[in-house]
């Protein structure tokens, strides 16, 4: 099957032309998926450009990955579009000791709960988030960041009567 990557190439060229300094490692993974790394400081402008100009009008998911060997936390945005069959995987690298990034709730309103979840599990601090508190984690666990790789209570060794 011939892979038609015309649309994807157009989007990558447009992104690279608009943000030559802040977009890096952009590549076409398949006919449906594009991936790119963004500078953490300009994530809001990039998302606004993607939404207004390139028809990426839906934020599918937003999460974080703890890369403890590289000593950094990656924030991952999956942006998709109702008009074209494409998914853009946008990543931003943050330092592990102080992961702080601008919130994109001003662009995509549904990023609100995604960012609260990434905050309670990874400790990513989102600036200008309207309500940055824990989503489902109990209050006494807040601050432990349970999904980080160096979380002490995982694996839990207290279970005695294993089946």
């Amino acid at each position: 099957m011939k892979v038609d990557t015309m649309e994807a190439e157009k989007i990558i060229d447009s992104l690279n032309a608009k943000f030559p300094d802040t977009i890096s490692d952009s590549q076409i993974e398949s006919e449906k998926r594009i991936s790119a790394y963004a500078e953490a400081g300009s994530i809001v402008e990039i998302c606004r450009y993607l939404k207004d100009e390139l028809q990426f009008d839906h934020l599918s998911s937003e999460t974080a990955v703890d890369l403890i060997l590289k000593d950094e936390i990656e924030v991952v945005y999956h942006l998709s579009s109702f008009g074209q069959p494409l998914v853009l995987k946008l990543k931003a690298r943050l330092p592990r000791n102080n992961p702080e990034i601008e919130s994109i709730t001003s662009v995509y309103w549904d990023a609100n709960w995604y960012e609260r979840e990434a905050y309670e599990l990874f400790g990513v601090q989102y600036r200008n988030h309207p309500n940055l508190r824990n989503l489902v984690l109990p209050d006494e666990l807040l601050g432990d960041w349970p999904l980080r790789k160096d979380y002490e209570d995982f694996p839990q060794k207290t279970a005695k009567n294993l089946v």
Partner: protein, 190 residues
Amino acid sequence: MAEELTSQSYEQPAPKEQAQEESIPGVITTTSREINEFLKKTKIQDILNWGRKNSLWFMSQPMGCCGVELIVAGVAPMDTDRFGIIPRNSPRQADVMIISGYVTRKYFPALKRLWDQMPSPKWVFCVGDCSISGGPFYESYSTVQNIDEIFPIDVFVPGCPPRPEAIIQGFVEIQKKIETKKDRGSGYEG
């Protein structure tokens, strides 16, 4: 009247000091607890246990996917009604609490509160691997382990999830324990 209602405080009153039991000469004072302790040594307890074991009403608070099996155990083909097993929605009307899933740290205070709201005598049993040992979540950061150290559990029903027949057999095992006075819910030990 309205002023009284508005001025009424809904906070818990401060616990009063326990009044010492007065000894009245010529009158034997007793408490319901002492009566219960006395009845446990007599044959009347057998009749009480017969009544209790044939009306095990359980509290319907399904906690995980084993809750689906609890629903199946309550439908007509299983007919738990023949054992007197009826689901109740209120903990104040229930005799049995079924821990039917993983107990997360967030849910544990609510579960403890439900258990405290149930009137004694009350029994509790574990359904499913999650409540016995944690199941697939035994290493998780968010689950409470070793539930049997917290609640006086009489019967464990293993399975992932157990079939509704196994849940009914768990009830039958509780009935046998009540009949032979070996259950932990009636307080024979303490």
